[in-house]
């Protein structure tokens, strides 16, 4: 497969990181280590133009994310702009910053779907992980309002060693809330999460147990609750097909307008990113250097280059290869064919038994805006 722009198909999904501001301080935060400051965020009109360009390019699904997207006071007009552009519009939120009034306004603006994150199934666990007291109770209130408005809901349970035992309850809660879908996502160790591997790495036994819980629940809840499952990465045999293949189906726009093939791509030092402020989305998608860098299979080294799975998982995650091996073109070390796999397994087992305090993602508090009501 060549990275010739003529062979590149249009993207299907766009993740719009509206802001990096967030009231929570989750130890597995997936935003880059260097956060975009509020004053560099794209304004409402520029985002509206990004949405129109995305729809013209072929994007169907828009995910409004952050940070906490509700920290943007213009979230409602942004949803209107996204729907006017013809995009299926999904809000990915912790619920903090949403009120019943705002949810009604988002309904009127045409919001299609909400994905609500779950840090734990008890206030004690959720508030400890999110680093935000009262967050869980508020989230439960928000879930009630979401149900009252009638938004389709996905619950997104982020799991790791400290809360994996709560998985059965998380699935029950999704059913109780009337969610049609739950994402059971074992923490991916990128960015900030890398420094919390000792505190959060699941044990192999936990990973196996989670596999079994998910398999049982999928059978029992067929037609009631769809369960999408991201298993524990370091305990898998093959790597994740990250982003469905680099530059193949999805793209990310950062709060300051940088356009990236994945939300962690800024961890790869040699990449430079086009910005919506000065380059069209089509130009960036079809010809941008960061998108061309790992598109297709021409960039691969061995063992990927001759592997029969090379178009199945595309060598796994480039950012993980960078973070763990220092080479973004290496085979993801999660792969059992990687020469570094034995070392990774030993590391994972060591992290899983190491005791350590959580290192929270501390945010600059003064700029975080909350609605007045």
């Amino acid at each position: 497969m060549k990275a010739d722009p003529a062979n590149v198909r249009p993207p299907i999904a766009m993740l719009a990181e509206l802001t990096h501001r967030c009231p929570l301080s989750c130890p597995y935060c997936s935003n880059p280590l260097e956060l975009a400051r509020q004053e560099t965020e794209l304004d409402t009109e520029t985002w509206a133009d990004v949405f129109r360009q995305a729809a013209d390019l072929g994007v169907l699904q828009l995910h409004l994310s952050g940070g906490e997207p509700a920290s943007r006071r213009d979230l409602e007009p942004l949803v209107t702009a996204a729907r006017d552009a013809g995009l299926y519009t999904n809000l990915i939120t912790s619920g903090i910053g949403l009120t019943e009034r705002r949810l009604r306004a988002l309904d009127a603006a045409g919001l299609d779907h909400i994905q609500l994150s779950l840090q734990g199934t008890t206030a004690q666990m959720a508030d400890m992980i999110g680093g935000y007291r009262g967050g869980f109770d508020r989230k439960m209130k928000v879930a009630e309002w979401i149900g009252a408005v009638g938004f389709p809901l996905t619950l997104n349970a982020v799991l790791h060693r400290q809360n994996l035992h709560q998985l059965p309850r998380a699935i029950e809660m999704a059913v109780e809330m009337g969610a049609r879908r739950i994402e059971v996502a074992t923490v991916q160790f990128h960015g900030w999460a890398l420094r919390n591997r000792d505190a959060m790495m699941p044990t192999r036994e936990q990973a196996r147990e989670a596999d079994a819980i998910v398999a049982e629940a999928r059978a029992r809840l067929k037609g009631v609750l769809v369960i999408d499952y991201v298993p524990a990465d370091y305990h898998s045999d093959y790597p994740k097909r990250c982003m469905g293949g680099w530059g193949s189906t999805g793209l990310v726009v950062a709060p300051d307008g940088q356009v990236m093939p994945c939300h962690a791509a800024s961890t790869i030092p040699h990449l430079t990113f086009d910005n919506m402020r000065d380059t069209s989305l089509a130009e960036t998608w079809y010809r941008g250097g960061a998108f061309q860098a790992y598109r297709g299979t021409d960039w691969m080294q061995e063992p990927c280059a001759s592997c029969e799975r090379k178009t199945v998982d595309f060598g796994g995650c480039r950012c993980q290869a960078m973070a763990l091996l220092g080479d973004p073109a290496a085979t993801d070390p999660v792969c059992i064919k990687s020469p570094h796999r034995a070392e990774l397994t030993a590391q994972a087992d060591a992290h899983a038994v190491a005791g350590s305090d959580l290192v929270y993602r501390v945010m600059p508090r003064d700029k975080v805006s909350e609605p007045a009501d």
């Binding site: 699904q61 013809g86 299926y88 299609d112 779907h113 994905q115 938004f151 389709p152 996905t154 049609r180």
Partner: protein, 91 residues
């Protein structure tokens, strides 16, 4: 799918013409399902008022096919959508 069941697309699931790829898709929470002509024909008939039996008879008449064959083809497709919760039925 029973002939008396009335299928409908729940909130958050809608047919959409993809003007860039010139094809019809079913948009659902965090999914876009590409539709072939048969899939689009079946979903276009679903209005939340008519039963599956009425829909298959209408399609059979339009495409000059047997209602049983249409029902067999459509049933598997709609079953898969129900399993994903992209389609609901009124009893």
């Amino acid at each position: 799918m029973e002939p008396g069941e009335i299928p409908y697309l729940p909130r958050g699931v809608r047919l959409h013409h993809d003007r860039v790829r010139d094809t019809w898709v079913l948009l659902a929470p965090e999914r876009a399902v590409s539709l072939d002509m048969v899939g689009h024909a079946v979903l276009s008939e679903i209005d939340g008022a008519r039963s599956f039996g009425e829909i298959t008879r209408a399609l059979a008449a339009r495409y000059d096919a047997s209602p049983d064959q249409i029902a067999a083809d459509a049933s598997g497709f709609l079953r898969a959508l129900r399993d994903r919760r992209f389609l609901e039925v009124q009893a």
